[in-house]
């Protein structure tokens, strides 16, 4: 009986009841914000970017330490769901297997040229004009040569750039208007403000440059995220990275799912979890939940270790975004949507 109740996800019913009651109570004031999906996504985007920026100003070290541990695995699940499962990339078995082999190899410590090679089967398998495929292969070649010549510099550049790749993929999910452009402008403005040191005074006033509870400090983070750079610029690069990483998580965990849902209206928590289980299958979803829980528990005992462990696990996903993004672009399809919805 209890198992049947668990399978029906009854434990989410109280949460759904509370949310419905809130919607009903606030409807007279907030209906205009919620009723229309593009408007909803626009204000959710602005709110997510604003929250990320405020958190970086208030506690940048906590953002860097906790973000990957708490949101890392959910964002990887969203990555696979909206770039692979929903568009049906995994149904192209041979190219998907070859690309997966490259991504797995990266997980075992293969150099970045192997991860970049995942683009090749994706490009060759795509149904597209020859010139577009040639262009995509040209991009792959340039990236591979850069990675081959200086692996370390390439990895650092890719680490920073892949946060913006998610922004580009989100922009492609649905046709956009000026309201969505506000989100993009806010992201660019926030990153630029941190890069030019405009947040330093606030961070210093709030004591954000030192948070011993995180088990890490900016000395260590500068050495791993922005080494060999003038020290002040390096610090600003790390702050900008913290902000963009936070936005990256918000895009995958909140905004892309909002845009990718077939029906425009929000659905219940129970319906959302059922849809996720339908996309992945319960065993795979259970595995993802176990990994997420394991990293969170690990973080409770050893936060820097858990962050490092997650980053090792997630190495593949930047290359996945690149390969799947190339395939979707070549096929003229939108990420996150099933083919029949995208048309």
């Amino acid at each position: 009986m209890r198992l049947a109740s668990l399978a029906r996800l009854d434990f989410l019913a109280p949460l759904d009841a509370v949310r419905s009651a809130l919607y009903r109570a606030l409807a007279p004031w907030l209906r205009g914000l919620y009723a229309d999906r593009p408007r909803r996504v626009a204000w959710m985007g602005a709110l997510s970017v604003g929250t990320s920026f405020a958190l970086v100003l208030a506690a940048p070290l906590w953002v860097l330490a906790l973000g990957p541990v708490l949101l890392g695995v959910p964002h990887l699940v969203a990555d696979l769901r909206y770039l692979v499962v929903k568009p049906g990339l995994h149904r192209h078995f041979v190219p998907a297997s070859l690309a997966a082999a490259c991504l797995v190899a990266v997980g075992f410590g293969a150099p970045s040229v192997v991860g970049l090679f995942a683009m090749v089967p994706a490009v060759l398998a795509a149904r597209a004009d020859g010139w577009k495929k040639g262009l995509a292969l040209g991009v792959w070649l340039v990236l591979s040569v850069c990675a081959w010549r200086d692996e370390y510099a390439f990895l650092l550049a890719f680490l920073h750039a892949h946060n913006l790749l998610a922004l580009a993929l989100w922009w492609r999910v649905r046709p956009r208007d000026g309201r969505a452009a506000v989100t993009v402008l806010l992201v660019l403005a926030g990153a630029a403000a941190l890069l030019f040191g405009l947040g330093d005074g606030v961070i210093a006033a709030l004591g954000g440059f030192s948070s011993p509870g995180t088990g890490t400090d900016f000395t260590e983070l500068v050495a791993s995220i922005a080494p060999d750079v003038e020290p002040t610029l390096a610090l600003h690069l790390v702050l900008s990275f913290a902000f963009l990483q936070s936005v990256h998580y918000a895009l995958w965990v909140r905004l892309i799912p909002e845009d990718a849902r077939e029906r425009p209206a929000p659905r219940t928590f129970r319906a959302s979890l059922q849809a996720l289980a339908q996309d992945f299958g319960r065993p795979l979803l259970a595995l993802a939940c176990l990994v997420a829980l394991g990293i969170a528990v690990w973080g409770a005992f050893d936060l820097p270790g858990a962050r490092w462990g997650y980053l090792r696990l997630a190495t593949f996903h930047g290359y996945l975004e690149l390969a799947a993004g190339a395939w979707l672009w070549l096929e003229g399809r939108r990420p996150a949507l099933r083919p029949e919805v995208a048309r």
Binding site: G109, A110, D200, L313
Partner: protein, 113 residues
């Protein structure tokens, strides 16, 4: 089968946890000075206290520089060269390709009607 492929990617990614590359700092994590350790390249060594100058950002930019004591793994002169082992990622790539080919074989088998 496509889900199996996804499962493979996720589960083998998890195996990478066992392959966190050590460095001279990581080799001495949780140890005391004089303890045996392994260096970056897997050579035996001894944990040794070393002073390193590092930027301190705790008061914001520009950083102040301070001497920090680290416990680093210093290789011992008696270390003997180890035979090179195949890169773990190459093994992973090989196993995954093998699994992919096996899955392809299973997929192409005529299904009983």
């Amino acid at each position: 089968m496509p889900r199996l492929l996804l499962l493979l990617v996720l589960s083998t990614g998890g195996l990478a946890f066992a392959d966190i590359a050590p460095d001279n700092l990581a080799g001495c994590r949780g140890k005391s000075a004089g303890a045996a350790c392994r260096t970056d390249d897997g050579q035996p060594g001894v944990c040794t206290k070393t002073m390193v100058s590092r930027p301190d950002y705790s008061e914001g930019p520009p950083p102040k520089y301070r001497q920090v004591e680290y416990l680093l793994c210093a290789g011992t002169s008696t270390a003997t060269a180890r035979a090179p082992s195949p890169a773990p990622w190459a093994t992973g790539l090989f196993l995954t390709l093998l699994a992919g080919l096996g899955a392809l074989f299973v997929l192409r088998r005529p299904r009983p009607t």
